[in-house]
């Protein structure tokens, strides 16, 4: 059995504020195997971004209480010294962000920004680093890379900037690429290009990918494993097939049903009623209970555990497996 590249155990990230403690991440565990793609799905405020910002060490530890373990290739990143973290960031874990318009420094040339990442981790000359940067721009499909490397971010379109970000993140062939909603800010046509690019590069570089998104459609095609997050917790996890064809958690059902389909008569998209929970005052019991159409007494009392459905497929729900199987078959997959 191969070792997971990333093994997160019972991660908790709490932010004390004047209004109370924001439990952004509340007991999250998962693993990513080498070369695998994990899709992390959830609404805004479900804790998916905070989880991975914590993995990267990009959460300000002065303002957050972080507990648990983040084992990356065996080393706990939460207790690792600053120097180790800096050596891992960029070199072994690359990250791309949601908004390519603001994620590149406006004052420096794109090529220089990529070369800076390379020179931070490798002892090579400026000239070689610049050449590597151009090569990376070429590999992510930017036309006339020599010329583009000498341009500033504002001379790039959104899609091109995200390509440049990907070039920067992959310039040191990291073992893990964290993509935090990489396509949310882009045009639909560009979204598909970027996702295909990530797919292609993933096999070229043999990188594991954590794809954070709120769009189940994105993770379906591009991910091996999918993990659904709600209220700072993982509520369902499994293979893409598990989540799509045997979903076992009402929130996942809601997500599936709210995806736009072409083969349906319904004109309005399904919506999950209610709003995401306050992370300061999570509802008692199951955090999804105020919005769940199948809620019953126990949901208001106990927090459901993430229990195996079969194999690696697990879900957190108090309904019996038979009931959930029935609802999924009859109400969700039928209509979805």
């Amino acid at each position: 059995m191969p070792e997971p590249i990333l093994d997160v155990k019972d991660l908790r990230v709490h932010f004390p504020t004047e209004d109370g403690v924001v439990k952004a991440v509340d007991g999250v565990s998962f693993t990513i195997m080498p070369g695998e793609t994990l899709g992390v799905v959830g609404e805004s405020g479900s804790g998916k971004s905070v989880t991975f910002l914590t993995v990267m060490g990009l959460i300000n530890r002065r303002s957050a209480i972080v507990e648990g373990q983040v084992l990356f290739q065996g080393e706990d990143l939460l207790t690792a010294p600053k120097e180790d973290l800096q050596a891992i960031r960029g070199k072994k874990i690359g990250m791309i962000f949601q908004d390519p318009m603001t994620s590149l420094h406006p004052f420096y040339k794109v090529g220089d920004q990529i070369a800076e990442a390379i020179r931070t981790h490798e002892k090579i000359s400026k000239k070689d680093a610049a050449e590597r940067a151009v090569e990376m721009l070429r590999r992510v499909g930017i036309p006339r890379p020599e010329e583009r490397a000498r341009q500033y971010p504002h001379e790039f379109s959104g899609g091109m900037r995200q390509r440049a970000m990907i070039a920067m993140a992959l310039s040191l062939s990291p073992d893990l690429l964290i993509a935090d909603e990489p396509t949310t800010a882009l045009d639909v046509t560009v979204q598909a290009q970027i996702l295909d690019l990530v797919d292609r590069l993933q096999s070229e570089f043999n990188t594991a990918v954590a794809m954070i998104t709120h769009d189940l459609g994105v993770v379906a095609e591009h991910c091996d494993q999918i993990q659904v997050m709600y209220g700072g917790r993982v509520v369902e996890t499994g293979t893409a097939d598990d989540i799509y064809y045997q979903p076992r958690m009402p929130y996942t059902w809601g997500l599936l049903r709210s995806m736009p389909r072409l083969n349906t008569e319904e004109e309005r998209l399904h919506q999950i009623r209610g709003t995401p929970p306050s992370l300061i005052h999570l509802p008692r019991g199951c955090p999804f209970n105020p919005r769940c159409p199948y809620v019953f007494d126990r949901c208001h009392v106990d927090v459901p555990e993430l229990l195996p459905v079969d194999g690696h497929h697990a879900a957190a729900c108090h309904l019996t497996l038979e009931e959930r199987e029935r609802i999924a078959e009859q109400e969700v997959l039928e209509r979805a």
Partner: protein, 322 residues
């Protein structure tokens, strides 16, 4: 870029003409009495007043006086270029007076600017790096006090304490570097520099703190950290550059404002600068002196704006002028 600069310089010339016109109008509309009467001496005869009027060119219509002055300004007069006219009070050419006093004010303003940049910006940066720390709270308290202290209060207080009470520094006055040497020159300038700089240092500390805090929360700062850059480089290379650019704008205008005369500081410390001269000229209705000071101020402000815009284009690649 060059075309842009040339176009801006042409604008400066136009602005100058307008400013001279406005200053002329104000002067002649002002109920300050007939300048010819004022400068004709005690109990003048009508002939004497007429004589003075002719000597000063006040007998000609206003528009003709304006035309002559403007023409001389750009083409030079009998005292050389630029034609700044002669003083009613001194009955001497104004050019050397204006030049000398501008130089004095420049020493005051530039010295103060160096002090406030060296004090204000580092304080702001250190505050922003540790927001809400003891240092930050202390620094921002100092800034609040600094901003609230007028020069006419803190100036005499500083003079009293440092030169009268403790006798650490010499008193007020201006001691030219060339004639008196470095010691007296520096000794007499250090207090005015610091007093004038206090207000600005406080303001710049707050400004650079706010800008740096803003920049630190930018997405590209997260990218810089995600690249694995050492924190030092993240701050110096990525944050500071972006956060200090807006300060260039403010600095250009602040310095220009002071070069046009730091009236109160010059008065408190008895420094013969251009601001002090401007006030004196207004009180004595010395038309051409007022005009000259106004023109110097206008030129300095207009050029400072131009320099700021050019520097901005070099610092921020998104800004391009055509």
């Amino acid at each position: 870029m060059l075309r842009y600069v040339i176009r801006r310089l042409i604008w400066v010339v136009l602005v100058l003409v307008v400013i001279v016109a406005v200053t002329y109008s104000i002067f002649f509309l002002l109920p300050a009495g007939d300048p010819a009467v004022r400068f004709a001496g005690k109990a003048p005869t009508p002939e004497r007043i007429e004589q003075v009027r002719v000597a000063f060119g006040l007998d000609k219509p206003v528009y003709q006086q304006f035309y002559t002055f403007t023409k001389n300004l750009f083409l030079g007069d009998q005292y050389g270029w630029p034609g700044l006219g002669q003083s009613f009070v001194l009955r001497q050419p104004l050019k050397p007076v204006i030049l000398e006093r501008t130089l004095v004010t420049m020493q005051l303003a530039i010295g103060a600017a160096i002090v406030w940049l060296l004090v204000g910006i580092p304080i702001g940066i250190l505050s922003a790096l540790r927001p809400h720390s003891l240092f930050d709270r202390g620094a921002m308290f100092f800034a609040l006090v600094g901003i609230s202290m007028p020069v006419f209060f803190i100036g005499p207080l500083a003079l009293y304490l440092f030169s009268y009470q403790w006798e650490i520094l010499p008193g007020s006055g201006y001691y030219p570097l060339a004639e008196e040497g470095f010691g007296p020159w520096f000794g007499h300038f250090i207090l005015p520099w610091c007093v004038l700089a206090l207000l600005y240092a406080a303001f710049y500390a707050r400004l650079s703190r706010a800008n740096l805090l803003d920049t630190m929360s930018e997405d590209y700062m997260r990218t810089a950290r995600a690249k694995g850059l050492p924190e030092r480089r993240v701050i110096v290379h990525h944050a500071l550059r972006a956060s200090l650019v807006p300060i260039v704008t403010v600095f250009g205008l602040d310095l220009a404002g002071l070069l046009a005369g730091a009236v109160i500081t010059e008065t408190v410390f008895n420094i013969p600068g251009i601001g002090q001269y401007a006030v004196r000229s207004v009180f004595s209705s010395d038309l051409y002196a007022i005009l000259d000071v106004t023109i110097v101020a206008a030129i300095v402000v207009a050029l400072a704006n131009l320099v700021v815009d050019i520097v901005y284009a070099f610092l921020d690649p998104r800004v391009r002028y055509t």
